[in-house]
Subunit: 231 residues, 2 copies
DNA sequence: TCGAACAATTCAGAATTCAATATGAAGCTG
DNA sequence: CAGCTTCATATTGAATTCTGAATTGTTCGA
């Protein structure tokens, strides 16, 4: 297994491991051995160590000094908490972003919605998600609140599987697009309170379906939850 | 300079550097040299590197690969953002904590308020802050929301200087204690919505004085802000 | 037979060494 | 004289080595 995407080996190792954990390729409860991981990735132990420390900071693994490194993974509680955090921080970020969003930004947002409609008609879930991500990213980043941006973007990858399920339902995609149109309309008025209200509503809409989708996902995740619990 | 508090050298180095940055002993804009820092701390470069990476994750330094490590420090904007995040997450954490707080917890909270009153009469600012910290810590942790707890506790140290200024004003201490009594009363009713409302009010109360205190602190911080800006 | 202590093995933490990259100065060329 | 190129130096990134801690297994004694 070779890594090429980043000149910094520790970053490549981090991204690789992170992806493997989030995709459940490495399962929760598993113990990682520095040496083995290093050999698997074809690098030395140093960058692996650094990658593991970074993963620990994100809560994806837990390091027991001088013992072992335990993979934690993403549980249902974790996904619920992430949505809770998002529902608290995104509305405020959006309302602050109102001050900083340029007309070009708003045009791009409009464009992204149009693209979403197009992808939705083709049933291209990946592309809808990409457009969706950029939509929220533009708004969040315009808030210029570096910590909030970091928190939101960090949590983003954790709910990849969840969002995929969400976007696979045509009714939910339709509703999502309508809500994005509403958000854009609100942003165009430059009315902070209105934006906050609409974004909150949008996130509550997601929460509404969250439990249903989590139930659907239960089967695929349950195995890992159990394994994690046994350890 | 020797470090003894932690069997893990990297943790000691991290804590030491973090403290030095937050206390402005190391100034924003300064460039850290791994070798020099290692020599100053009397350890090798490896744990220093790991400490610096951890500091980068917290946003206290910025590492430019193969170049240098820049100290960022805490700006006014940073403090404002931290309070904003806190104001969004603490009320929700408290309202969820309602389900989990034991009677022992509530007794401890009551006790902490009594201690605060005592320390306030003696003008012991450090002790008031300690009691204050434990008060919020108990509530936050009872939410069992690990990510939110991590976010809130991580940001805690950043506003140390700010909180010290806050607690040095007897009028604000008095008000703070009254509000804590209100919070405890709300928690005792086990009414989630009420708790959320009261905690929100408490945090808004802090925000109210924030700008005034930041203005006071300006003189001591301005120098460093300027330095940071020049770099 | 069970428990405790000691030894051996394993694995992570830290130090040291080696390699790569960026910067800055000096010299050369147009 | 200015700008580009090259080379030397400084500094970080990665690999390797060494040390120390923790766990496990074995042996001896009660």
């Amino acid at each position: 297994m070779k890594i090429l995407d980043n000149p910094l080996i520790r970053e490549s190792a981090f991204n690789q491991l992170r992806k493997m954990i989030l995709s459940q390729e490495i399962k929760p409860g598993e113990k990682l051995n520095e040496k083995e991981v290093a050999e698997q990735l074809g690098v030395s132990r140093t960058p692996v160590r650094e990658a593991l420390h970074k993963l620990e900071l994100e809560g994806l693994v837990e390091i027991f000094p001088r013992r072992y490194c335990l993979v934690k993974g993403v549980t249902h509680e974790c996904i619920r908490e992430i949505h809770l955090i998002r529902s608290q921080l995104e509305p405020i970020a959006a309302s602050i972003a109102v001050n900083n969003l340029t007309n070009e930004d708003l045009e791009r947002l409009d464009n992204l919605i149009k693209l979403s409609v197009e992808f939705a008609s083709k049933g291209n879930v990946e592309k809808i998600m990409e457009a969706n991500d950029e939509f929220h990213q533009i708004i969040n980043r315009a808030s210029n609140l570096s910590r909030i941006i970091a928190i939101l973007e960090n949590m983003h990858d954790y709910v990849e599987a969840f969002r995929y399920s969400f976007m696979s339902r045509t009714d939910l995609v339709k509703r999502s697009i309508e809500e994005h149109q509403e958000i854009l309309a609100a942003l165009q008025t430059r009315d902070k309170e209105l934006v906050k209200k609409i974004v909150t509503k949008h996130l509550e809409g997601i929460t509404e379906y969250e439990e249903v989708i989590l139930e659907d996902m239960k089967q695929s995740l349950k195995v890992f939850d159990d394994e994690l619990h046994n350890k």
